[in-house]
Symmetry: C2
Subunit: 224 residues, 2 copies
DNA sequence: CCTACCGATCGGTAGG
DNA sequence: CCTACCGATCGGTAGG
């Protein structure tokens, strides 16, 4: 049994407006709170997995109350989709920027395929393991938790991302610098890179440049 | 409100013993039901992940009632540990057997490191993707869901498994057939192989022998 | 975006 | 190993 909050002299108490006090226009965050929820979700999904993460914990990590994430996202499932979609968008954007920059550095001519592969791999590691890199690992771990429709939406981006690797790899296979069935080899290269989310520890000796070197030396025949 | 099962003539009805009728000795399964639970758990953990799997579904898949898995395992967490431990034990056993067999085939002399690597990779794919291969993928996906103590128990086996790769790989690096930092290269090779649990489809063209060939051609310099 | 809450699910158990 | 059940958790919502 609760006691009523104002048992007497209701009128004497300063009237409090119902609900939250409205923030003034310049105090508003213009929807940035949505980004906070998204980032918090990505971090927790990455640490504990989708199913093991409580939406309450996402709320707390974003500095809000337990029900509030559902103001920004329909449900937990949609939150997962948004995290993974955001991750793929960032990956594609950054990879395209890196490739453009490499082209410029090579005097606006297409860089040689070895250099292209180096840039692709280095950027890939950065997306996977660099700062703010919780989004793509969530995709790698939680792909199976997406609905069929969410998968389809992400697949477009994924195909576009993977497409950037095809030309350089085929050139390297044609030049004898990479051996094996190109499609299978590409899957294995992705595996070698993606697996690093399981073991890479930024506190250890190896840097992302070290990883890139190791990968290139492992995959490329330099005797051809 | 339930009706009593025998409202009248209780004595006329053949006495039913309480609980389950005891099975005769030759009808008993000698604890094989535990294996059924373990296999069912492995399959469901592999498909949906640990946190998303209901113990009720494990029970159903093993052909028992919802509470019965807890007769065989203390709790869900212990079930995960048992699945992963069983997986690692199988992997070590099979890999050792394969290496022994390869030694015999080479006339009880140590096979050359290329051949050793081929055997290791081929067996690895078999453990990962062959028949009854749900146990190790659970470990790859759900390592983070283990308790610290469970991890320690599995780590002994894991070290022993990974140890089998060290000598041949170092020999290959020494011979110039594999390039790069040996420890990092090993991690990347494992990644390339382990990632196959994400994309390999036994219904497709590629066989485990194809994967093995591709991997060897990708990692080994044959020009040295 | 908070308050206050609901309804279903799910791991787990007592007793036989 | 089943029956019958509990207690806690957790995604989600109505209303402001």
């Amino acid at each position: 049994m609760r006691f009523p909050e104002h048992p007497i002299e209701l009128a004497a108490v300063p009237r409090r407006t119902r609900g939250r006090p409205r923030k003034s226009a310049d105090e508003r965050d213009d929807g940035n709170r949505r980004q906070d929820v998204l980032r918090a979700a990505a971090q927790l999904f990455r640490q504990h997995g989708f199913a093991a993460t409580r939406t309450r914990d996402i709320a707390t990590a974003a500095g809000m109350q337990s029900g509030s994430p559902f103001y920004h996202f329909e449900n937990k499932q949609a939150l997962l989709g948004a995290v993974i979609l955001e991750g793929m968008q960032r990956a594609v954007t950054r990879q395209k920027a890196a490739m453009d920059q490499a082209s410029e550095a090579a005097g606006n001519s297409p860089p040689d395929p070895r250099q292209q592969l180096r840039v692709l791999i280095r950027t890939h590691f950065d997306v996977l393991l660099g700062p703010d890199s919780e989004f793509i690992p969530v995709m790698l771990y939680e792909w199976r938790s997406l609905t069929a429709m969410q998968r389809a939406a992400v697949n477009d981006l994924r195909r576009s991302y993977e497409g950037m690797w095809v030309a350089p790899l085929q050139a390297l296979v044609a030049a004898g610098a990479v051996s094996g069935d190109p499609a299978l080899a590409r899957l294995m290269i992705f595996g070698a890179l993606n697996w690093s989310v399981q073991w890479f520890d930024p506190g250890q000796r190896a840097t992302l440049d070290d990883l890139t070197d190791t990968a290139l030396r492992l995959f490329l025949k330099d005797c051809a």
